[in-house]
């Protein structure tokens, strides 16, 4: 539980930055090199690599190097973890707001 909580801390922290969300958004359309990730961002390469490190530490992104090119991949299962925690709380709230909808299994 503690480890899971720490993992969620890292996940939501990783998503709490516009530049990192831009990187995740790009990777949601397929793998990309660090150079490609950096293109829309107005920052130095070391700054991009620092953001990439935060994303990798959260588990949202993995990268591998072939020669001089580092390619990054989104990890959709980890993205799903971040989504699930929120979805479960929203489902809880909907069940509270209308217990009949919950009982009948119907959307509100």
């Amino acid at each position: 539980m503690l480890n899971h909580s720490a993992a969620l801390d890292r996940l939501y922290s990783a998503l709490a930055d516009g530049s990192r969300r831009t990187m995740v958004d790009r990777l949601s359309r397929g793998p990309a090199t660090v150079k490609e990730l950096a293109e829309p961002l107005t920052m130095s390469l070391p700054a991009v690599l620092q953001h990439l490190r935060v994303l990798e530490e959260s588990g949202l992104v993995r990268s591998h190097k072939a020669g001089r090119v580092r390619t990054c991949h989104l990890q959709p299962a980890v993205l799903q973890e971040a989504e699930r925690w929120i979805a479960d709380r929203r489902a809880g709230w909907l069940a509270f707001a209308d217990p009949r909808a919950e009982a009948l299994g119907k959307p509100l």
Copy 2:
């Protein structure tokens, strides 16, 4: 766009803390007083109020005071915003991973 990005920064920052997630989890089962929110947390009341302020600034929670009792309410539409950004990126990745599934409108 910038404002929306700043709003998402605040949202995910608010969720990037286990104590605040405990508060959101409690509020997903219905409104609660500050005292009720504080019960499962091993921290001072000022610390709880500080976390509540972060949640209110993100828009996830609203509170109102009646006499000496402050009652807190989850804002499910804001929770949905946090969920939607992630869900949209995951949908993007799924469409990349299997374009046929996207074209047919089928889950993978």
